[in-house]
Amino acid sequence: MSSTRAAPAPPRHRPAPERGRRGADDRRLTWRNRLYRFDMRYMPYLMIAPFFLLFIVFGLFPLLFNAVVSLRNYRLDDPTLPYWAGVENFSRLFADEDFWNALYNTFGIFLLSTVPQLLLALLVASLLNRQLRAQTWWRVGVLLPYVTPIVASTMVFSVFFSRDFGMANWALGLLGIGGADDPIDWRADKLHAWIAIATMVNWKWIGYNALLYLAAMQSIPRDVYEAAAIDGAGQWKQLWRITVPMIQPVVVFTVILSTIGGLQLFTEPMLFDPNAQAATGGPNGEWQTIAQLIYKVGWKDLNLGYAAAMSWALFLIILVVAGINYLLTNRLSGGRK
């Protein structure tokens, strides 16, 4: 591959001899040429195709099939009903107390978990972003809850929040709240149950979000902070005026992810119930989330059509809430883009 030119060729420049040889074995070159073009143009599509394929099989198809089922009478214990139900399953949703109760619970737990979770993650991240001893140790440490299997941690929390021998009540007792004679029954009313479940969610996800924030923070140039410090901005002001706006895309990302996760909450409320198999989320549905209600309607009441309608409603609710959150976070952190 010698070139007659003495000067180094520009990187993309095709060497002259090759061009000269073209006439000799035109066919081979065209083939190679085609292969090259194929590689450049179509390979990316091929490489990404498996994802879309899996998405079609396991994402899009169930979604559409679900939509069809939601318009049907699909009762496992009563095959005699007419095939199509029209919009009956959807209109029934609006009058269904259980659905509204579950929606209320889901949003309650969602607020109690997402807001503190992201704020604390931000604080943890800014702490980790400083010069610390054993930096890696801390960083891996905050991620440990995320690595713990969710069922295992929920079982432990479920004991932690038990009425008679729970550590939560013991700790609160030390602070003079509740105590042995009047222990908090975490499963007897909405607020306590929500707090208990939100705690499990927060514990699991704070570290994960903190690491995402940390990664984004490390790309912020130091001199911005130095300039701010010279201008007299304190730590707190730096966090809110510099850090948050500058990691805004990641903030939006985590907000949307935790919206999706929070509204689909299932395992924690399910296993928090000592009588988990009933899937009622407490004797009076104190902490039954929508995902749990869908499971109950589908596999306990055996009404798959109605459960499908609920899943679609949940899907739309998540879209709307994620959209709202996107706009809000955009505005909160400076409104750029």
Binding site: Y42, I56, L76, P79, D98, D185, R187, Q277, N284
Partner: protein
């Protein structure tokens, strides 16, 4: 022109890959059915807890070298749910599926998904079974029998002799039975026990509610599928609330860790005990051997649970499965299971067999279980369990739990129970 070619090529490329991958994914797994060619069959049995099948499997495989049996024990609810999913999917169900009485109505109404055992000649079994047991798995039109009964849950009361003694109560099983001919008397004994020891008498309100309900003429639903809250359920509910109000209940939830712990720690002194519960107590609290005994249940007989073996139609070895099923419900095997885990057969002829009639359970102070349980099962008028029986029971049990955790006032409990049951009936 060039542009459209690129577009075409992209589409084609993506399409081609998709086809290849779909083809790769749709390869069908061929366990079980495919090896039938060389005469080898694998039969899978799904059940929960301990059906006492381990030794029987070895025996059957030795007698039938072409058959391999796969025992798959799972959690009670999960197994039924799994079966339901596989029936909907039309694929993946076991060759033989055990179904509990509580789920029978649900599966009976999908009788087209099961092999009609009457076609296989099971009609001759009708006279051998307890009549109510035979009817439970029969489809509504009476033309399809989807399962053959294995055990019935004849009801008795298990009690801790050591705790009774400490409370100054008699410990002999006949004297204890005489203490509580009725549920009113039972609650009185409970008050006495709790008053003396300051400990709880029964395990849970729900475990008082269910046996009492089981003794009523009509349960939640009559045979017209109408909800009948004001009759049987009201009687059972009133006793239950009275017990909870009187502080007799340890407010535990059955089959949960705390409940299991209660057997060893003496959190309660007595519980309703169907025949199959004996195995559970023995397994959970082996250290309490000899501290238990068995007395009669207040209010006469009763039944709680009991299972059937069914053959889902989608199986590939239906005939072999039926042969195995017939073998499993044959007297020798049923007696074997009774001795092993305590499950009481549902064929009354066996109750007279000395192997059962003379059997005493050493774990329970040599209680003559072979006498106690058959008497309960035979003295039973069966109840019709409606289609919505399961969800309705859960709804009412939840109301009881709310009374137990004090988030619902006992006075308001009944109207709440009616409301919740109505909702479940309409779900």
């Amino acid at each position: 022109m060039k542009r459209s070619w690129t577009h075409w090529a992209r589409t084609a490329a993506v399409g081609a890959v998709s086809l290849v991958m779909v083809a790769a994914c749709s390869g069908k797994s061929t366990t079980g059915g495919a090896d039938a060619a060389d005469g080898q069959v694998t039969l899978k049995i799904n059940f929960w807890g301990d059906f006492g099948l381990q030794d029987l499997k070895t025996k059957y495989e030795a007698d039938h070298p072409n058959v391999k049996i796969q025992l798959n024990s799972g959690e009670y609810n999960a197994q039924h749910e799994d079966l339901q999913k596989k029936l909907v999917a039309g694929n993946g169900a076991p060759d033989i599926a055990a179904i509990d009485e509580g789920f029978m109505v649900q599966f009976r109404s999908q009788s087209d998904k099961f092999v009609n055992l009457l076609d296989k000649g099971a009609g001759s079994y009708e006279s051998k079974y307890l009549p109510w047991k035979w009817k439970q798995s029969l489809s509504a039109d009476g033309k399809t029998q989807i399962g053959l009964g294995t055990d019935v849950g004849g009801l008795a009361m298990c009690y801790r002799t050591d705790l009774f003694k400490a409370a100054g109560l008699p410990t002999d099983r006949d004297q204890v039975s005489a203490l509580w001919p009725t549920w009113d008397k039972f609650l009185e004994v409970g008050q006495q026990y709790t008053g003396k020891t300051k400990k709880k008498f029964i395990d849970a309100g729900t475990n008082l509610f269910n046996p009492i309900l089981g003794q009523q003429q009509v349960g939640f639903y009559n045979d017209q599928e109408q909800l009948q809250m004001e009759q049987g359920p009201k009687v059972a509910f009133d006793y239950t609330v009275k017990a909870v109000q009187g502080g007799l209940s340890a407010n535990l939830v059955s089959f949960q860790a705390d409940w299991d712990k209660g057997f060893t720690s003496g959190a309660f002194a007595v519980l309703a005990c169907p025949a199959w519960m004996l195995g559970h107590i023995k397994d959970t609290a082996p250290g309490t051997q000899g501290k238990w005994d068995i007395a009669a249940v207040p209010g006469g007989g009763g039944n709680w649970g009991g299972s059937f073996l069914t053959i889902p139609k989608q199986g590939k070895n239906v005939d072999e499965a039926y042969k195995l099923l017939e073998w499993l419900v044959a007297p020798e095997q049923q007696i074997e299971i009774f001795k092993k885990v305590g499950n009481l057969p549902s064929q009354p002829a066996l109750y007279a067999d000395p192997a059962i009639a003379d059997f005493k359970n050493p774990f329970f102070n040599d209680a003559p279980v072979g006498q106690i349980f058959p008497k309960m099962a035979q003295g039973l008028t069966p109840q019709y369990l409606g289609k919505k029986n399961g969800p309705t029971r859960v709804a009412v049990e939840n109301v009881i739990r709310r009374v137990e955790n004090k988030s619902l006032k006992p006075d308001a409990a009944w109207s709440e129970a009616v409301k919740e049951a109505d909702k479940a009936a309409k779900s």
